[in-house]
């Protein structure tokens, strides 16, 4: 919404300074986006000084001038004027300028082999006088200190640009803005009732609004203006239109635009001679077509509100007119339309046809239905003043009686919501200034809502009106209330925050990537999940919701490797999606690690990252989060994007069905497909939703402190087992022999090769034995030794290695 202060003052009697008006606009909720002059083509003309003028090498009558235009370097301009000479002050027009006299646009050009940057102008070229014999000569006493300054004064007024919220259609017109300012105490709103117009004779084109279901038009007002002479708009009107950065077209079009901007009252002018007999406002029929003023042909659906005549559709009511009945410079007789269209209907039609116009924008927010006649009056008066012609009586067709809506407002509601008091008298004054009709009934106000305020329907709307006009700075700042009803974080949220920092503490950089991803990458990681397409993706490489965090993580890893990083550890904690319904999402940590450990370190051997790095990080994270390492169970099963032989899944307990985490090397095929160049790439995922709420709280766990002071003994064993026998099972067998005595089992060597049969391996373990009741005797230890050997041999088919 743009307008000038001058225009505003046509509606508002005020002595306030511009800056005060600007501030007040923002205070009442009409946010000022900018307040500045619209730049003009004439800004390109600058005061300049010829520093040097030499003869053109290839032309007798031309000179090559070095011109100071107030910038660091002078510019070279080729000039044919006899008076061009050193030290002359004149007017320079740079490339891109449009010469006022002939509308010629300047470009950088070669004149007889010498490049000329712009032009030095004569008075005639600047429309200053008829003098065309030489370039403009500026008096040095007036201009010598103005070199580089803009020559023409920019006479346009500063323009206020407001950002109007969708609830305030009334402020899409200058008058509405003036009314709000008046209510807020910035002057007085001027009356409009004294627009007088002579209108005689009936409006001879019959207008009817069909009564049918979903009729989008309820009021259609019109008048006929005969014998007009459409022309260029007068200067004041052109200036107004131009000050808003719009282009004047013709008087009639400019006037309808002016009234729309002034009163938020859209109008439409038809060439009356092109209307076939009568106007019928009706619903469209499927597949009707018409050519609109944007020169596009539209094919309509059922139930779109159209203005038609006997031959067919003339325009889409309240959205866009048609070319068939448009006004031109030679239009003689016009039919002026001022109508009311229902916002819902406008919105539906414009969405379906994908049309956005100024009229549509206004009608969809709600036009004052009672401004129909005022609009006709103001526009036809201006038309006759500028273009002549005779105005008919106004014809207003209505299919619905419009009456003002009423609400009852309990005055106490204001203080209850706003938290401060305003006197009843002041409340009433504010509402009257805003256009309400107010009658006080004890503790209540009975209000008739102004017809231009479709946004006001209930008491809370009245509270808002009062508080914004009174000023938000009147709201007190109350000490925040500190009552608590619930713990800040629930268990799952605590877990989220804990795991996030736990993973980061292992050297991973946390990243946040889009929840969507490239379907090509996603398909590498989606497993059995459904692909979830975004109907209107922002780009084709972000076209699906992610089924895994790895799709984004791996592609960003690649970018970092391409930047020259080698050892990159990244993780993200966030949602992955199972389906396109609310709640069908899981919270997952995905982490990846590339390259080497201890690269370029003088005292440590470097090595590629491997699956046991990933396993350590995932297990340690779970242990830190409070899950007992003894209970964690690992299986070989893992998703297909991991290396099939070098990956696994982690379960909280041996009997669990759902794994809580995966770890391993990323599948070599995927590394190849994404084209990741690194020595090694491992990763892990933790599924937060599958991590069971630990029943026992940490404080309870802490309270059970048990330990033994009796002597510990260590025994080493080496068993030869089948190559595929799982180390975890061996530990399990030994640990469960006597849980009260066997405190820990550690594997310190795994060996295959010489002295061991081909299909076997040797596992060497260290077992810590300790009793909580006594110091074990050699004989006790011997007993448990034997038991370990015999149990392992029977249960696993292993042989003790002698």
């Amino acid at each position: 919404m743009k307008f000038t202060i001058g225009w505003l003052k046509e509606h508002l009697d005020t002595k306030f300074k511009d800056s005060e008006i600007i501030e007040k606009l923002t205070d009442v909720g009409l946010e000022v986006e900018s307040f500045e002059k619209v730049s003009s083509d004439l800004d390109n003309f600058k005061v300049a000084k010829i520093i040097n003028a030499e003869q053109h090498p290839n032309a007798d009558k031309l000179k090559v001038c070095d011109v100071d235009i107030g910038e660091q370097d002078t510019v070279k301009v080729v000039c044919g004027a006899p008076n061009a000479k050193k030290d002359l002050l004149t007017v320079y027009a740079g490339p891109g300028s449009v010469i006022p006299k002939n509308n010629m646009k300047l470009t950088v050009s070669k004149i007889r082999g010498v490049t000329s940057y712009g032009m030095l102008c004569s008075e005639s070229e600047l429309n200053l006088s008829d003098e065309s014999d030489g370039i403009t000569e500026l008096k040095s006493n007036k201009y010598s200190d103005k070199v580089g300054k803009i020559f023409f004064k920019n006479n346009t007024e500063k323009v206020i640009d407001l950002s109007i919220t969708p609830n305030r259609p009334d402020c899409l017109g200058v008058r509405g803005v003036a009314r709000d300012l008046a209510a807020a105490g910035v002057g007085k709103l001027k009356h409009t009732s004294n627009i007088k117009i002579k209108n005689n004779g009936a409006q001879k084109i019959k207008v009817s609004i069909t009564k049918e279901k979903n009729q989008g038009c309820t009021i259609f007002g019109s008048c006929l203006i005969k014998d007009v002479a459409n022309k260029e708009s007068p200067k004041w009107l052109k200036d107004k239109i131009e000050s808003l950065g719009q282009k004047p077209i013709s008087a009639i079009v400019d006037i309808t635009n002016y009234v729309m901007l002034d009163l938020n009252r859209p109008l439409h002018a038809y060439d009356a001679d092109k209307i076939d007999k009568e106007i019928i406002v009706r619903n469209s029929v499927k597949d009707e077509t018409f050519e609109a003023l944007d020169n596009k042909e539209y094919k309509l659906d059922n139930d779109m509100c159209v203005i038609s005549d006997k031959s067919g559709v003339l325009g889409l009511g309240g959205i866009i007119g048609g070319t068939r009945s448009g006004t031109e410079l030679n239009t003689k007789n016009i039919l002026l339309e001022s109508a009311y269209f229902l916002p819902r209907s406008i919105r539906k039609t414009s969405k379906l046809l994908n049309i956005d116009t100024d009229a549509k924008f206004r009608f969809e927010r709600g036009i004052d239905p009672q401004s129909v006649e005022l609009g006709l009056k103001k526009a036809s008066k201006l038309i006759t003043e500028i273009c002549g012609g005779k105005v008919s009586k106004f014809d207003v067709q209505k299919i619905k009686k419009d009456k003002k809506n009423k609400i009852k407002f309990k005055i106490s509601l204001f203080e209850r919501i706003a938290g401060f008091k305003v006197k009843d008298k002041e409340i009433i004054k504010i509402l009257i200034d805003l256009g309400f009709e107010v009658s006080k009934k004890k503790l209540e106000l009975e209000l008739k809502i102004p017809s231009w305020r479709p946004d006001i329907t209930q008491p809370i709307d009245i509270v808002e009106e009062i508080v914004r006009i009174k000023g938000f700075n009147n709201i007190r700042t109350l000490e925040p209330d500190k009552t608590r009803f619930k713990a800040t974080l629930n268990k799952q949220q605590k877990l989220f925050h804990f795991l996030q920092r736990s993973v980061a503490s292992k050297g991973y950089f946390e990243t946040v990537t889009w929840s969507f991803t490239d379907s090509k990458f996603n398909s590498l990681f989606k497993e059995n999940y459904k692909e979830i397409k975004i109907v209107n993706p922002i780009s084709s490489d972000l076209d699906v919701l992610r089924n895994s965090i790895f799709s984004n993580l791996t592609s960003y890893l690649k970018k970092n490797l391409d930047r020259g990083f080698k050892d990159v550890s990244l993780f993200e904690i966030g949602p992955i999606f199972k389906d396109n319904k609310p709640g069908e999402q899981l919270t997952v940590i995905g982490a990846i690690k590339s390259g080497k450990i201890s690269r370029l370190n003088w005292n440590e051997e470097n090595r590629s990252v491997d699956l046991f790095d990933a396993k350590k990080d995932v297990i340690q994270t779970l242990v830190e989060a409070g899950y007992d390492r003894q209970n964690l169970f690992v299986r070989e099963k893992s998703p297909s994007y991991y290396h099939p032989g070098k990956s696994g899944s982690v379960y909280l307990n041996k009997d669990d069905i759902d794994p809580v985490a995966y770890f391993g090397e990323i599948h070599p095929n995927i590394i190849k497909k994404i084209d990741i160049k690194t020595e090694a790439l491992v990763g892990f995922e933790i599924y937060l939703d599958y991590l069971k709420d630990k029943k026992i709280k940490l404080k309870d766990l802490k309270s059970q402190f048990k330990f033994s002071d009796y002597q510990k003994s260590d025994r080493d064993f080496a068993f030869v087992v089948d190559k595929h026998f799982k180390a975890q099972d061996l530990i399990d067998i030994i640990s469960s022999i006597d849980e009260s005595l066997i405190k820990s089992v550690k594997i310190f060597d795994v060996y295959e090769g010489e002295n061991i049969p081909k299909d076997k391996k040797s596992i060497a373990l260290n077992v810590t034995i300790q009793s909580s009741e006594k110091t074990l005797e050699e004989s006790d230890l011997e007993k448990i030794n034997k038991l370990i050997i015999s149990t392992v041999e029977t249960k696993s088919g292993a042989k003790i290695r002698s």
């Binding site: 009442v28 938290g419 700042t477 925040p480 209330d481 608590r484 925050h497």
Partner: protein, 355 residues
């Protein structure tokens, strides 16, 4: 007796010489070995007359202890000397680099979410969450934004089905609806999370973060809203004074609605919050619209309160001087390293939000 004295003097003298450990051991065995001089003397005790025996034994013991002590001292001396001379050769260049450090980082958005949680926890708020995929009812209709409302155009929505019923939430406000539907008032929550809008340029990302706030009780009015935000902004920017401006605005789900600006100035190209006469919009808020309360079966004549929505990424940018929103989501290792936080740097109220 003189024998013993002689032994004593002789050996003390020998022990005062510069000896190595072997010679000391030799002396030790000469004295205390099986046939050592002291051992022999003890053996001879029995042959002495009873009246002399006691005195002799006592003297002998005395000499024995003295020699023993001298020997031990000598051994210790030699050992220390040996260690010291060894240390001379064990010097290493301690300026050589340590073993590789691994330091992870927390993303600034996560850090700011933790800061917010800590700030609002202090005044009794709890944290709620909602799904990223929403239906249009929770995202719009229940929030008093019916299908034909132009305010819907202000949200460029990502849709997940052709009927436009399923979508990615355009704001965190649906969490208000979900929270109120599943519980009973009073409500006092914040809801941080991901939000999505289908525009993308230098200042807009298709995904960003918001935190929603909601406080519903019997007497919560705009003064409480102002107080809460005043507290929040001061705490977050860690300043004692803040210039704050409430500007009337419009959101379908609150009424009256306001946008909040904070004062700032530019010092050496950096934004300084709380001073200066420039205004920066940082959040939207208002009193929860009675229609929203009715939609979640709460009687607006009994309960009322405020809601607000703040862009988390923007808060992070302002507080930590980050210029480019897009960079938040581009996973540039250098950026993450520079703007990320140490995982041990957990924002909390007692030790301060930031170091």
């Amino acid at each position: 007796m003189s024998d013993i004295k002689k032994i004593k003097d002789e050996f003390l003298e020998r022990l005062n010489e510069d000896l190595n450990i072997e010679s000391v051991n030799e002396i030790k065995s000469e004295l205390f070995g099986k046939n050592g001089k002291i051992s022999t003397s003890f053996k001879n005790l029995g042959s002495l007359p009873a009246e002399e025996r006691k005195k002799f034994a006592s003297d002998l013991n005395f000499v024995k202890d003295e020699l023993q002590e001298k020997i031990n001292k000598k051994i210790q001396e030699i050992e220390i000397k040996e260690i010291n001379s060894k240390l001379e050769n064990e010097k290493i260049d301690v300026t050589l680099p340590e073993r590789n450090i691994v330091q992870g980082k927390i993303h600034p958005v996560s850090q700011v979410i933790d800061e917010l949680s800590s700030i609002f926890s202090e005044i009794g708020f709890s944290v709620e969450e909602g799904p990223d995929v929403e239906n249009e009812h929770y995202n719009f209709t229940a929030l008093n934004t019916p299908d034909n409302h132009p305010a819907r155009d202000m949200h460029d929505t990502f849709y997940l089905d052709d009927k436009k019923e399923l979508l990615l939430r355009t704001h965190t406000s649906p969490v208000q609806v979900r929270t109120m539907l599943k519980g009973k008032p009073p409500f006092k929550i914040i809801a941080p999370g991901r939000t999505y809008r289908s525009d993308s340029d230098q200042t807009h990302a298709p995904m960003f973060h918001q935190v929603e706030g909601l406080h519903i009780d019997k007497n919560i009015n705009m003064g409480h809203l102002k107080g809460c935000l005043d507290y929040f902004i001061k705490s977050f920017f860690e300043v004692d004074k803040i210039k704050m401006r409430f500007r009337p605005s419009h959101f379908p789900f609150t009424e009256p609605s306001a946008e909040v600006d904070i004062g700032y100035e530019l010092k050496d190209g950096k934004i300084v919050i709380g001073e200066g006469d420039k205004w920066l919009e940082i959040l939207g808020c208002g009193m929860v619209h009675p229609n929203v309360l009715k939609n979640v079966k709460i009687n607006p004549d009994k309960y009322q309160g405020y809601a607000f929505g703040i862009g988390i990424d923007r808060l992070a940018m302002l507080k930590y001087g980050i210029n480019d929103l897009r960079a938040f989501f581009e996973t540039d290792y250098r950026w993450l390293n520079h703007f990320g936080f140490d995982p041990l740097d957990v924002p909390s109220n007692y030790r301060g939000l930031s170091r």
